[in-house]
């Protein structure tokens, strides 16, 4: 059978094909923007042209029919022009201001909330979880759905925050989502060393690669039943799962012990303060599908304490830096434990070397 015609290395289609005519005409000539209400923006060009944007929350995981629904709405209200944001929101680009309200009504009739701009909680960026990943310590889509059900009023702007708040979920330490720099992060964690399947290991894996994969050099070569294999110094394992990434015969998932941890105070923007990593707030909460009530309550608590205590334009990390970590643990009621004190590389840099406690 002849191979059907196919083309390789053509790259993505040129973006210009997909730009709204108003955007094409005013490319690079935008003067300023206004937030008309939560989820609705207007951008005004040097020459006075305007483009309206309606931003709506989408589940990142969706069906082709959901995309077609978005297409129907785009065709009805904005000549078929739409885009997605870096936080998995969908944006409708409208030439006609009068279409904003009917579009919002149609969106809400389909259960799609509008918001995510300015001082709101925008959509949660997340990873695949149990839906599609082999190393996931938790699910992402269900966790995100549960958290956003609880925080939806912060997305739509019904409850306002001191500043924007960005939440991310990653289902293992690989952190395919940027949870290491989010205001609040939920991170799936394993808590037991890998279980070695010796028979599969000798057929599947390169032993030097497994040994090199361990950041703590806790994996050593050994001989099992006359075959070259590896052993794990379990006291030295910090459950990162990197050996499992390298070798499928070292699974690390453990339903009894896997769960989530909660992190706070990261940001990527350079506004006011430099970008910051998230820091540990809660070392472990159980995996409790389908609703993860413990994780949802923990996130909600942090959001509420932040909303009450932060000053205008303070991100979570900036708020904590002002009030100090002791106060953060005090106000949130979160217990400070041995696990909160770093013991990886450069740990000493995080010890307090001043008498100033705030």
């Amino acid at each position: 059978m002849a191979t059907p015609q196919r083309r390789t290395d053509i790259g993505p289609p040129h973006y210009e094909k997909f730009l709204h005519p108003i955007i094409k005409n005013n490319y690079g000539k935008w003067k300023y923007h206004e937030v008309l209400k939560p989820g609705v923006l207007v951008h005004i060009a040097e020459g006075g042209d305007k483009i309206y944007t309606v931003r709506a929350g989408s589940p990142r995981l969706m069906s082709s029919d959901f995309v077609r629904l978005l297409c129907d709405l785009a065709e009805k209200y904005c000549d078929g022009y739409l885009r997605f944001t870096s936080r998995n929101n969908v944006e409708f680009l409208l030439a006609n201001k009068d279409n904003i309200e009917p579009l919002i009504n149609d969106l809400s009739a389909n259960g799609i909330p509008v918001g995510g701009t300015k001082n709101t909680i925008s959509n949660i960026v997340h990873t695949q979880g149990w839906v599609h990943c082999h190393s996931a310590a938790t699910d992402a889509s269900g966790l995100v759905k549960s958290v956003m059900d609880e925080l939806c009023d912060y997305f739509t702007g019904k409850i306002e925050l001191p500043h924007k708040l960005r939440i991310a979920v990653a289902c293992c330490l690989n952190m395919c989502g940027a949870v290491h720099c989010s205001d609040i992060a939920i991170l799936g964690v394993h808590r037991r060393p890998p279980k070695i399947n010796y028979e599969r290991l000798s057929n599947l894996c390169e032993i030097p690669s497994i040994i090199a994969s361990c950041p703590l050099a806790a994996i050593r070569p050994t001989i099992i039943d006359g075959k070259k294999s590896v052993e794990v110094d379990e006291d030295n394992c910090m459950y990162c799962g990197n050996c499992y990434t390298v070798c499928p015969a070292m699974p690390i998932a453990n339903p009894l012990n896997d769960g989530v941890s909660i992190w706070v105070g990261g940001k990527v923007s350079n506004a006011r303060t430099a970008p910051m990593f998230t820091k540990l707030a809660i070392p472990f909460l159980p995996n409790n599908p389908p609703r993860w009530p413990e994780a949802v309550a923990a996130v909600k608590n942090i959001v509420e304490v932040y909303a009450k205590g932060a000053k205008k334009y303070e991100r979570v990390g900036e708020w904590i830096n002002r009030i100090g970590w002791p106060k953060f643990f005090d106000l949130t009621g979160i217990e400070f434990t041995k696990y909160h004190i770093d013991d990886f590389k450069y740990a000493g840099k995080t010890y307090r070397t001043t008498t100033q406690m705030v």
């Binding site: 995309v67 549960s146 690989n174 350079n270």
Partner: protein, 393 residues
């Protein structure tokens, strides 16, 4: 008692946020793969663990990346989920679409796969979830004939992504969409065929607000910035004040460099001291704008924790003009890749490699002069590897 096969997942049909369960259950009525995916996910919710096996090498002919193998460990129970490969489709710059393009993509995906997808993946691709091995070639053929191509995976150039830049943002300091398209096309070979020690991510952000998290998530971060003075419109500043903005509290006092003065009539900025953090511009976009001498700051080395700990990108070139054909930028990229080829270890990101070799040594190897902008402070320990010394005559 309910006869539902997914009682745990059904709980997620409730609530204010759009429900992926409701959406996928509807899809499952016509897609057996979606039905079995839900069945397997229900099992994961019950067992509290994943039911995906580790990897498996599948792909399309001539490509080393773009498809990620995914096999179920519960394929007997859920045959539709037995093969459930990921296909990464390279998104257009800025994630702009027309409905007709999306409809065409969805028709192709329904023809060959589960109908489940992500808009979008963490790196930026449009992600199809759930293709059988035998369908990969025909799917790719149809995609390529509709002008779409695959993105990166594995140890290659990952699909570059960018903020929407000058297309709809007044803050953009360079054309992020044009550069992303150019870089994507220039390195097609390296994007589709993994030649590197490990993955390499490019992210283009138009200004220091960094809406694509370039500084946290990309090995090579290109973040727009300006060198001259913030442009001011004093009339518009007054309008903000009259509309109720507390300029003293919300702008002046929030300036991290204390370089703004406001006497109730006019705003003064000492641009010499300005760190170009964007706060004042973010608060008053109608009145304040980045300067006119624009370009980008080039940073290197961001990554998530695995293996040696998370890193943010650090400054490599404080300011570079970015105009096509981007020769200066591409020469820098090539010199870094040459270095990485020689010194990189398998599964070591460039940021970790630089930590191991030392930033000073790295700069020497790629032919860049050290400048104080690259560090927060000079070293505070005296352990210097002196390379110059006198020999006795």
């Amino acid at each position: 008692m309910s006869d539902s096969k997914t009682p745990l997942l059904d709980e997620l049909e409730k609530g204010k946020w759009p429900s992926f369960v409701k959406d996928l259950k509807k899809l499952a009525q016509r897609s057996p793969k979606a039905k079995d995916l839900l069945g397997q996910l229900e099992l994961s919710y019950k067992d509290k663990m994943t039911h995906w096996k580790h990897g498996g090498i599948v792909g399309v002919k001539g490509y080393g990346g773009g498809v990620i193998g995914r096999f179920s460990d519960a394929g007997d129970q859920f045959p539709g989920a037995a093969h459930f490969h990921t296909v990464r489709v390279n998104q257009p710059s800025g994630w702009f679409y027309t409905s007709s393009a999306l409809r065409e993509l969805m028709d192709i995906w329904d023809k060959y796969g589960s109908g489940i997808l992500n808009m979008h993946g963490s790196t930026g691709d449009l992600i199809f979830l759930g293709a059988d091995t035998d369908n990969l070639e025909p799917l790719f053929t149809d995609l390529s004939n509709a002008d779409w191509d695959l993105g990166g995976s594995g140890s290659d150039v990952r699909t570059p992504s960018c903020c929407l830049g000058p297309s709809r943002c007044e803050f953009a300091c360079y054309d992020t969409l044009a550069l992303t398209y150019d870089i994507t096309m220039t390195y097609q070979d390296l994007l589709h065929r993994p030649f590197f020690p490990y993955k390499w991510k490019f992210k283009m952000a138009g200004c220091p607000n960094d809406c694509v998290a370039s500084i946290a998530r990309s090995d090579f971060s290109i973040i727009g910035i300006w060198r001259d003075n913030i442009r001011m419109d004093q009339e518009a500043i007054k309008e903000y004040a009259e509309a109720g903005l507390n300029i003293a509290a919300d702008v002046v006092n929030k300036c991290p460099k204390n370089c703004i003065e406001w006497d109730g009539k006019a705003l003064k900025i000492d641009d010499e001291c300005c760190s170009k953090c964007m706060h004042c511009i973010n608060v008053m976009p109608k009145a304040l704008r980045p300067g006119e001498d624009k370009g980008a700051c080039i940073l290197i080395g961001a990554k998530a924790p695995i293996v040696e700990g998370a890193q943010l990108s650090s400054v490599l070139v404080p300011f570079m003009k970015l105009e096509p054909p981007y020769d200066e930028l591409k020469s820098l990229i090539q010199r870094i890749w040459d270095f990485w080829d020689e010194f990189g270890k398998a599964r070591e990101r460039i940021g970790e490699c630089i930590q191991r070799i030392g930033l000073g040594n790295f700069l020497e190897k790629i032919g860049l002069e050290p400048v104080p902008q690259m560090v927060l402070q000079p070293r505070d320990n005296p352990y210097i590897f002196y390379e110059e010394y006198f020999e006795e005559e």
